[in-house]
Symmetry: C2
Subunit: 547 residues, 2 copies
């Protein structure tokens, strides 16, 4: 059961040779019929003379054998093509290489550095951030309820654990919860949103999810449709967080990029939105717009005016709004303030207050950084009730998000209140994390801006800097020789020479001819300083080498 | 911004009236153009005369106004049609109604019963099963590492917690893990599989997942493709677990049902497999086969001979095998034994030992019943390396499964060993759960078989009975009147009259003209006895009423 891809020496195109079928098939037909179909015809008795036939064809010297493949049921020829297209740079080849280097170092390999610094992913605890005690004490009690009586945890921790357990089937976090989450926790989230925005939030619109990415994918999925023979399109910022490009590729949805304005602190410009929509509408039905605020990878915090302009634009074109607001607690710059899309929309009045919106939040970011627990929520605003019912139905087949992720959500949505036993410690820990992130945000932008060939916007919020680098022409040439994009080439050089792992701008998108990278601001201050010093040294050497 | 669906009184077909567009559009065109496209043309300035125009048309008395809709960005007209098709009966309308009844009871409603018994879902802890201490002590330590020093937990618990934390970034379960899971735990799973099967398992082929459903969907997704203009098809058993029908609908994959043989203890028959494949091949490329063993909802445990026949069939037709083996620990009947597909395939030698297979396992079932933690794994056997790389890439965009779900997987894959401090208690707890399930499995089948009009196969394994019921013709008529399938009608009657929530056979599929339902065997013995007594009484009354 095998087949070969042969390249015709004269014609310059490829054939699939299927032994037993007594014929060759062109590559375009191959794509049509699929390896599986062909090889199924082969199975059983039809298969005897395969090697003899193949040798005859090769002996006639008309073909080169490109590759012989076992005819697997799933091959690169018949796999879901959208999965092949999908890219997710935050965990791409560079990160794989970083993992290999770590293993090499462990085995005693000699390198010009002693450790890998993973500045590629917003993974706070991995970079030394300490968990919030309140969250962890509650988790420790709900997983092992004897701790409620036996431990010396504060009373509010114990009460919270009791409340969560009472909301679980059989009073165990081992039970399935409702698919959209535990009702009590959904109510707490709605109260949190009301406090944040000063406007009503209906807990029935709150869905707990196993991380914001899950919720985003659930909502994106609603748009898969070929109306009028055209696919649906979704507008996303460029640069963007690659979950969006990956999910759009996976779902066969069209990615309609709109550029953020680097010169205006990565803000959004209405004219650019219009340009992007007009361009996109040529080949798809543009139906939704994604906004990431505070921005990832770009670190901007949108002004209220900017949000209003986006809402008007979306209303004018009847676009559904995805408000990715997972960094809502991460705002550092003086004068910057987080406004939720829901708040702004609501305060703009009708028709804007009636627009459809999904807003996403996560326990992985903010001051918590509990990425591994997989907890988050989405608020679904102004959905058609039938559409919402269908979304809930789709979610239900996946049973439920992690009960412990939900427990963490509860601690975030309803943190200790003033006067409660855990309040002081909770506030101290939260403040300390956010102040330190603030300091690091400033430190990183300042350092980059002192480096020749670097230009870095202020990190107003989120957890990343996204500086632009000037690439010497010789480096661009060397990258071309290496078959890599210039920023990817730079990032690999940085990794191999210093152990610093960043993500090149290519993974997020950038204006053609510009080069960027994303680094987190998460290494603890001493390590961050070390990283920036090493970075500086590398960059000088790199620039010299390629000038 | 609204539009109306009008029905022409003379022609008997519907129009979409779009104010501002100055024309009506037939329903088929509406489907083509989508509400959004139409309503987008409406937005802004074009909208002034809408109500005037509408009144004119209605005044001409040619149309009935079927409904006026706000032109949402996502409507039932332009939503992903696959999401509308998707059904998941285990959490369907019956379960929603059960939840409402629970709330009504809480509010003091007078009902002929005092509580709802949820026998609809395999949710062990919710039905009173006690968590395994070892798992929970480990979780309590990894979430709050101070417990390692401060608690009086056994030494092996503390060591396990240390091992898991050492395998986490920053020694915190709040860090992201690798997308396919923590390496140490993947190695432990491979060792578990080796002990189970007596054959090599490569930890690189083990992927940790947030519940088996996630893994199953990840693999099903590989098959989305239109080769030769035909969609891919996947063979699934009828009756089946509705995650499969739901996911196939969601992905636009064709569901090719093969009937299990109720008279042969729900075994598989090669002739039926061939019939199903031949039938399915007419309109799609059949590329994979799903087997659930032990069976859900049917409770059978396949014999080794049966598995061999399936493997041969799959090999002959080059089908990828999905082996849903999440109930591998749940085998009760004398003479029944669990054989993994991988073990059987391996021992059959080539070409069978080279076939592609994905096997799924979960911490939600077995003796653990930790549904809420969302932990599981899949073993990917004989994958094309490029296909595997693409699957891993797709998984990476979702970051990682819950670290705490993974910690639970570790405790299941590597339970306490003889001689270790937790071993005796762990064995006692495990044995007690499995023995009790064994007793309940027998009790439920015996009771059903004593009831008139019931026929129930032995529950050899898993957590469910799937009895057949004879429906009196008058009941079938009454169901028709109520617009319900007869088994759905029966299940609703049962729920409203007794508070017992089961899932009708329609949700799983059954041979036309037969009626079944699925009930779990999970209520604790006393409650199960009570449930069966109530059930018996209801069934007698129901039969009398409709005879």
């Amino acid at each position: 059961m095998s087949y070969c891809v042969l390249r015709s020496k004269s014609a310059g195109y490829s054939y699939l040779f299927v032994p037993g079928l007594h014929k060759t098939i062109s590559m375009s037909s191959l794509k049509m019929i699929g390896g599986v179909v062909a090889s199924r015809r082969l199975s059983g008795k039809a298969l005897r003379s395969q090697s003899a036939e193949l040798s005859v064809l090769l002996a006639q010297n008309k073909f080169t054998n490109l590759r012989t493949m076992a005819s697997k049921a799933v091959t690169m020829e018949n796999i879901n093509p959208n999965i092949v297209k999908l890219e997710y740079a935050v965990r791409g080849p560079l990160v794989t290489r970083a993992g290999e280097i770590e293993k090499e170092l462990l085995k005693g390999a000699s390198k010009p550095f002693k450790r890998v610094i993973k500045a590629n992913i917003g993974d706070a605890h991995a970079m030394g951030q300490v968990p919030i005690t309140f969250i962890r004490q509650v988790l420790s009690c709900v997983t092992y309820p004897e701790n409620i009586d036996k431990s010396d945890f504060p009373e509010d921790v114990k009460q919270r654990a009791r409340d969560i357990l009472n909301a679980c089937g059989g009073k165990s976090v081992g039970s399935y919860t409702m698919s959209h989450g535990i009702e009590m926790i959904r109510r707490h989230v709605a109260e949190y949103i009301e406090r944040r925005d000063g406007h009503k939030s209906d807990w029935n619109n709150v869905v707990l999810v196993g991380g914001a990415s899950n919720g985003i994918k659930n909502c994106l999925q609603l748009f898969i449709n070929d109306l009028d023979g055209k696919p649906s399109g979704v507008m996303i910022p460029i640069p963007q967080y690659p979950l969006y490009s990956a999910s759009l590729a996976e779902y066969g949805l069209e990615q309609i990029g709109y550029y953020l304005d680097e010169d205006k602190q990565w803000g959004l410009d209405s004219a650019e939105l219009e340009r992007s929509l007009t361009e996109g509408s040529k080949h798809c039905n543009v139906r939704a717009i994604v906004i990431i605020n505070p921005g990832n990878p770009t670190g901007q915090v949108l002004t209220r005016e900017n949000i209003e302009a986006i809402v008007k634009f979306a209303s004018e074109h009847n676009l559904f709004i995805f408000a990715d607001e997972v960094y809502q607690d991460n705002v550092y710059a003086e004068g910057s303030k987080f406004f939720s899309f829901k708040k702004v929309m609501t305060e703009m009045g009708e028709p804007y207050s009636k627009m459809e919106l999904a807003s996403f939040m996560s326990v992985s970011k903010g001051y918590m950084g509990e990425c591994g627990l997989r907890g988050g929520w989405m608020e679904l605003v102004n959905f058609d009730p039938d559409v919402k019912a269908n979304l809930f139905k789709a979610i239900s087949a996946m049973l439920c998000p992690s009960s412990l992720g939900q427990a963490a959500v509860d601690c975030v949505a309803k943190p200790p209140a003033p006067g409660e036993a855990s309040y002081d410690l909770w506030l101290k820990e939260k403040t300390s994390v956010l102040q330190s992130l603030d300091k690091r945000a400033k430190m990183i932008a300042e350092t980059f801006n002192q480096m020749e060939g670097f230009k870095c916007n202020i990190v107003q919020g989120a957890m990343y800097a996204f500086p632009q680098i000037t690439m010497p022409p010789k480096a661009i040439e060397a990258a071309k020789q290496a078959g890599k994009a210039p920023d990817v080439f730079y990032a690999f050089q940085l990794l191999e020479n210093t152990g610093i792992c960043i993500v090149p701008g290519t993974g997020f998108g950038q204006r053609p001819g510009t080069y960027h990278f994303r680094t987190t601001i998460l290494p603890q201050p001493a390590l961050l300083q070390e990283m920036l010093d090493i970075f500086k040294g590398f960059h000088e050497k790199f620039t010299k080498e390629y000038s």
